[in-house]
Amino acid sequence: MHLAYPAVLAVLLFCVGLYGVLARRNAILVLMSVELMLNAVNLNLVAFDVWLRDTLHSGQALTLFTIAIAAAEIGIGLAIVLAVYRNRGTSAVDDLRDTAERPDDGGDGDGVGPEGAAAEEPDEPAPGASQKAEATA
């Protein structure tokens, strides 16, 4: 079999994964498409290894590593998505906007928020919840 088939297939797979990462709203689906990209690379590696007739099979060795790494990543990725879901009730990727410094609209909002919080901060110890509440203001 000529090398071109697996190589082209791998690149196609990679692009599909890429599309999935960029277009999908749901975090889980984004994770799946990332997984797809990694597997495309594995396919690539194995194909090149066979094509090069590498005695050391370093291509396949790296594939094993990549599979192991992908597994670990998915583990952590799911844990993080679970945490995000628990905290916010949604795992839609594109409306996670809190850590950003909202450029204009929230500009003074942010400014006011913390002032407000700082003002009411000293008088009563802020329980974890209120700390969270004002952070999202």
């Binding site: 990679f14 990694l38 690539n44 790296l62 952590i76 990725g77 993080i80 809190d98």
Partner: protein, 512 residues
């Protein structure tokens, strides 16, 4: 007998002393994870001291390696020179940087964890220490790796625990969100790097950097573009870790969301991982393609510096978490300076002082590590009383605690590269001289402009420290580990300012 020999030849001889530093850190990490199960809530702090001891031990193990070059995990047979794990001066310096950075982060973390425990915001300690140590182990492994596989694995071992660390503050919406952003960006970058590695593997047929370097010289015709694409894509993963411009978007959000010590860790050790990978890949693996990655890195450096400094310029001091965000953008700006010597290496004539120019990056990184961690330490100190850690909260710090204000001023001026921060100035001079030597005139001028822009926000913050404070200056007691961290970084900064030769020597005769 033959079987014995063949089996003997199959089992590689491992030089345990060479591999000691990362292994010790990993083992201690595992020990901490296991110990966490048996310890009660009360004496969780023991884990902190154990991890600290582990890091110190790993640091001490660096000493025996200083004299000779050691290599292990080498290929048997004719090509005995290609080894996967090599300990040379470059590796030792970076491992020293990584372990030192981890040590200081540990000091910061102990206070952070104790505060979290008092304010009963659950920040699981056992997992925290395990993740920190494993990430440090990965980071320590990377400078020594000499083949693409180990390089990628080390990169991942350093990054994955970092995602978890960022998202560790359970119940804190921003922390999990930051972790997710960091995770997604990093994973995508890694995928791209792996794609690059596969293309390079296709073009050269080997994974070992030294061999790749030789084989890239005579890649036949139609594989040439494939090789070039492979080279550029491989750089992406490391450029992402260094937070070069197109890949820098995750930095402010992650630093703001993550617990402060983790942000400090990422800004120093994370970046160290990034530029070490870049140096190994470009200087060792792809010298033949210098005309590919040279201009690319130069453009990246210029863009990173400018965007980082300019964004930091616009930080309003009354915004929530503006101090951390300012430090984040400043670290992006500093990454630009780190990239310049590597880009200059691309223009230097091939075989003479290639490593001397990248030595400047190492020297600048050492200075940057000490000073940046110091700045984060003081930020942590102020963050303990002002939850929102805004830059405006630093107004009149000199009245509250004069020493920490002076120290922060010193760190900021070191970052800006102006006396009294003499070490900062000479580190920048070294970086400037590599650019001028390589004939990158335009890059030097861009750097000059960036020094001025950077000074604006650094000096604005410094001036704020010494202004008259509003409200009563509340005297507050500084916990021991935090004082230790600030003291170590301050002493390091002043000592280096006194004798910059300690750090700049790496820039002189290169890092073989």
């Amino acid at each position: 007998m033959i079987a014995a020999e063949s089996t003997a030849s199959l089992i590689q001889s491992v030089d345990w002393v060479a591999v000691a530093p990362p292994t010790i850190v990993a083992v201690v990490g595992l020990a901490v994870l296991v110990a966490d199960l048996f310890l009660s809530e009360r004496n969780k702090h023991v884990l902190g001291w154990v991890s600290l001891a582990g890091l110190v031990a790993a640091g001490l193990f660096l000493l025996p390696l200083t004299d000779s070059h050691r290599s292990t995990f080498c290929l048997s047979g004719p090509r005995a020179t290609a080894c996967s794990y090599t300990v040379d001066e470059f590796t030792l310096v970076i491992q020293l940087l990584v372990i030192g950075g981890a040590l200081l982060t540990a000091l910061l973390s102990m206070t952070a964890l104790k505060d979290a425990r008092n304010a009963d915001k659950d920040l699981p300690e056992g997992e925290y220490w395990f993740l920190l140590l494993s990430s440090a182990a990965g980071a320590a492994l990377l400078p020594a790796s000499r083949d693409l596989a180990t390089l990628v694995v080390a990169l991942e071992v350093a990054s994955l625990p970092a995602f978890a660390l960022v998202g560790l503050k359970r119940g804190d919406k921003r922390s999990s969100e930051a972790a997710l952003k960091f995770f997604l960006s990093s994973v995508t970058a890694t995928a791209v790097t792996l794609l690059g590695v596969s293309f390079v593997y296709a073009a050269t047929g080997t994974m070992h950097l030294t061999e790749v370097g030789e084989k890239l010289g005579n890649v036949d015709g139609q594989l040439d573009t494939l090789a070039q694409t492979g080279v550029v894509l491989t750089l992406v993963g490391f450029a992402f870790k260094v937070a070069a411009v197109p890949f820098h978007f995750w930095v402010p959000d992650t630093y703001v969301g993550a617990p402060l010590p983790v942000a400090a860790y990422l800004s120093v050790v994370g970046k160290a991982v990034g530029f070490t990978g870049l140096i190994l890949v470009t200087v060792v693996a792809f010298p033949e393609y210098a005309d590919v990655w040279g201009p690319a890195l130069a453009a990246l450096a210029a863009l990173t510096m400018t965007i980082g400094n300019v964004a930091a310029l616009r930080q309003q001091s009354t915004r929530a978490y503006s101090a951390v965000r300012l430090l984040a953008w400043s670290s992006v700006g500093q990454a630009g300076y780190l990239l310049v010597p590597i880009a200059a290496a691309g223009y230097a004539d091939r075989h003479t002082d290639v490593l001397e120019t990248t030595g400047a990056t190492v020297a600048y990184a050492l200075m940057y590590a000490a000073v940046n961690l110091g700045a984060f330490a003081v930020a942590a100190l102020v963050g303990r009383t002002q939850k929102l850690n805004r830059v405006s909260d630093y107004r009149g710090l000199y009245a509250k605690s004069p020493l920490s204000a002076l120290v922060l001023a010193f760190f900021l001026l070191c970052l800006a590269g102006l006396p009294p921060g003499i070490i900062g100035l000479f580190a920048k001079v070294t970086v400037f001289s590599t650019a001028v030597d390589a004939g990158l005139g335009w890059l030097a001028v861009v750097m000059a402009a960036n020094v001025v822009i950077a000074l604006y926000y650094y000096l604005q913050w410094t001036a704020l420290l010494f202004r008259a404070p509003e409200g009563e200056p509340a005297k507050h007691h500084i916990p021991a580990p935090l004082t230790a961290a600030i003291a170590v970084t301050a002493v390091l900064g002043v000592a280096l300012s006194g004798a910059p030769q300690l750090v700049l020597q790496f820039a002189e005769h290169g890092v073989r």
